[in-house]
């Protein structure tokens, strides 16, 4: 049998695992190893995440920090450090070359211009117009480098009535401006006396910044494709607040249509019910039964045909007055069982091929997520023994790809650690010149 025929006969899962297992990523080409990226992110994880992604796909990312290091290196739970670098940044220093350059100094800007002449991509997160005022904005750099893709990231963007407001970009501000915080969180049990925890609630991670970084990357790569077709670079303006706000199910149209806003419903979903977490004997189980057929399946598993009869259509199930009733009835069943019992009962129903599907899941604390074999087998979590920072644990990007998969080669570098390498490689500057630059406060 030829390899070709064998390919066709293999079970899909075996075939695809053999083809895209991240364990084999290191032998494969990189999608973006033809790109040089200058990352001037400052106090902003959106920029850092965007360039992490480019670096994970193989781009040569030159991370430019002020001489004392970017303030992001101080972002860490309770200030916990690993050799002087906070854990938030340690996680997003991956595959990047770290140089210092004090862009406050005109002389340093000349060095930056030289680097920018041959760069493909620039990412920056300063207040709008700062780079421009320094003579190193898109307007100036694109003259010598028309193929340049320049992405500026800022909560209020580069134009519009608020662009010049001067307020800073912070994750929490991106989150509250996005509109998502307002609809996330518990509804007060007693509206006259809300508890401090019954308020608009932000996503626990830096989701505003991560959404901003993700959109920036998507946009830069779309611009790259346009450049392949036309040779033209361009200027891109990304607001992390808008980036996160694009993740809204329905906010603006709901107001347009019904002159109302979506309320906070805790873990309930105003558009899908039941679809939530239920208390069980040993934690919380997720169960759903929204469409008529899946609702029938759920009621069959619970042995509650009466519930199905009582709330037969999606209009009955999406009526907020009925949600509490259904929730309590379903929870009676879940709280009498352990998670494993619930999972087994539901999956047994699904396997038997009855009508509809019920989808079970459980809430995992991240410490338990870390103990779950699946994520290690799939290289979602990976230990990396970094020459400088020692053994660290990172999460890999989710894509598994057959031809040009992403990968993490190193975790981070100390401030300015690659000065000699990068300035030598790119500008031919040797130790003597670097010493002078250092003396003049440039690096």
């Amino acid at each position: 049998m030829s390899d070709h025929d064998k390919d066709k006969k293999m079970d899909w899962r075996d075939w695809i695992k053999e083809s895209d297992d991240p364990a084999k990523a290191h032998g494969k080409p990189e999608a973006l190893d033809h790109l040089t990226v200058l990352d001037c992110s400052y106090a902003n994880m959106a920029g850092c995440f965007a360039t992490s992604t480019l670096a994970e796909f193989g781009a040569e990312v030159i991370r430019i920090e002020p001489t004392g290091g970017d303030p992001v290196r101080s972002y860490s739970p309770w200030g916990l450090m690993n050799k002087g670098t906070g854990l938030g940044y340690l996680n997003e220093g991956r595959n990047k070359f770290h140089v210092t350059l004090n862009l406050q100094e005109p002389e340093a800007r000349e060095i930056f211009k030289k680097l920018a002449k041959r760069a493909d991509v620039i990412v920056e997160t300063l207040l709008p117009g700062v780079m421009d005022e320094w003579g190193i904005g898109y307007r100036q750099l694109s003259v010598d480098n028309p193929g340049l893709i320049y992405c500026a990231i800022y909560s209020y963007g580069q134009f519009g009535p608020m662009a010049a407001c001067g307020k800073a970009d912070a994750d929490v501000v991106n989150q509250v401006y996005s509109g998502i915080t307002g609809i996330t969180g518990e509804c007060p049990e007693d509206p006259d006396h809300p508890k401090p925890s019954e308020v608009p609630t932000r996503q626990g991670n830096w989701m505003g910044w991560y959404a901003g970084g993700a959109w920036a990357t998507a946009a830069m790569l779309a611009a790259l494709h346009h450049r392949v077709n036309t040779g033209k670079g361009q200027f891109i303006d990304v607001s992390p607040a808008e980036a996160f706000g694009r993740c809204i199910n329905y906010g603006i149209t709901y107001y347009q249509g019904f002159q109302d806003i979506i309320p906070r419903l805790g873990n309930w979903d105003p558009g899908v019910f039941p679809y939530t977490y239920f208390r069980c004997k040993d934690g919380y189980a997720f169960l759903a039964g929204f469409s008529d057929i899946n609702w029938e399946a759920l009621c069959t598993i619970l042995n509650r045909p009466d519930l199905r009869a009582q709330f037969p259509t999606i209009f009955d199930r999406l009526n907020p007055n009925n949600m509490g009733v259904m929730y309590k009835e379903i929870e009676k069943w879940t709280s009498a069982h352990t998670y494993d019992e619930i999972y087994d009962a539901v999956m047994a129903y699904n396997k038997a091929g009855g009508k509809g599907v019920v989808v079970p899941g459980k809430i995992s604390a991240p410490i338990d997520t870390m103990k779950t074999e699946n994520w290690w087998d799939r290289h979602s979590l990976q230990k990396i023994n970094d020459p400088h920072y020692g053994e660290t644990l990172i999460a890999n990007q989710a894509w598994k790809m057959t031809k040009s998969p992403p990968r993490v080669k190193w975790v981070c570098r100390p401030v300015g650690a690659d000065n000699e390498h990068v300035y030598g490689l790119k500008l031919g500057l040797g130790p003597k010149q670097l010493a002078t630059m250092k003396k003049n406060g440039l690096i």
Partner: protein
Amino acid sequence: MAGENYFKWAESVLDPSKTFDKPEALADIKVVELCTLILGPSLPAIMSEMGATVFKVELPGAGDTMRSLTPFAKFYNEAALGWLKEARNKYHLGIDVHHEEGKELFRDLVKRSDVVVENVRAGTMDRWKIGYRQLKEINPKIIYIALNGFGQWGHYVERPSYDAIAQAESGMASITGFPDKLPLKSGVWLADYFGALMGVVGVMAALAHRDRTGEGQFIEMSQAENMIRAMDWTWMYQHQTGKGRERYGNRDVSICPSDIFACTDNMMGIAAVTEEQFHGLCTAMGMPLLCEDPRFQTHAARLQEENAVALLDIIRSWSAKKSCAEIDKLAQKYGFAAHKVCNGKDHFEDEHLIKRNFTYTVDDPVYGEIVEEGIVPKFSETPGRIKWAGRPVGFDNEYVFRHYLGLSGEKIKELKENNIIGKWVDNPPGRKPPASWDGKSGIRLA
């Protein structure tokens, strides 16, 4: 600070009113979508905003379940609001891919396309003979992305999943919310939308590879793993300390100050993420000496539990006496970060977001005027856009089959009669055109 000049320049090159004078970045890219709900369909929606042509394939009749997803079962112009978010700019086709002839139509679309997006159970497409292994034979340049809960192989491959499960099993729900409350699911389908967005990034990287080598590839995307990647310092912290990351409410334990505070009229996110911003905030509060207090002098000091709690309390007492507008003004003057907690009404009325095409008005020939969350990245050369809001099931069959596949009117009629292709049913709601539709608007001549 930048001069006036910069903002005039930036507006002139990014001006949304000139959008339709300019080309689209992905104008040469065609996407075939065989997806339901949110994770899958949102991916081509995002690509369509950047110019890709998208063929959404649904089962004739009821089509995508997403057409039912709308808050409190309230449909607007007979369209589900959740569906509107991902229906934009697509050609909506009704093809029964269970039939061999339907599969053949699907393959014909793929032959002429660049990207396939699917979110059915792992291995299903392969079993149906329209999976990556079969499609790459007829189009070796195809970029094929499969999105689901847990991927194409591994311990959980049998498990179906939803957004809420990805949020739960990754640990994301556990780190969101307050310590005295349950783990909290986001108010939006976060793992779906963010999964789709990162899916776009994966496809774009594969496109970059194809632009260099001519080679297509397969991409798998687990939305749970994508959540795990987004949980910033969680894994570093747990590995270094052996302790679990918990829920800490609105306060950020890794940046101080950063929290959501009550003002006299609303709640407001306030943060200072550099020393300079912190000095600005202290000055704005009328307490410039605060930044010389040894407890608050450095970020490292401010992050210590006792100091952080003390500082946040000081800010809380200050904000409680101010309105959001007052604090916003101070943030502008002193350069710290602050914004009130916004809702759909705020976005609908926000002049800044309207100007920037985030709050986007689509004048749709079928569904009427729809205002929705619109364009995120503003491109100087290839601005994003929404051309139409969405279409009923199978609405674009005739146009696409004739225009893109070159099928004759007789052939199309035959496919219809054999129920290989088809259009909407009247029930459940959300499938058919609204009653206000005149029977012809939006139809492209086939």
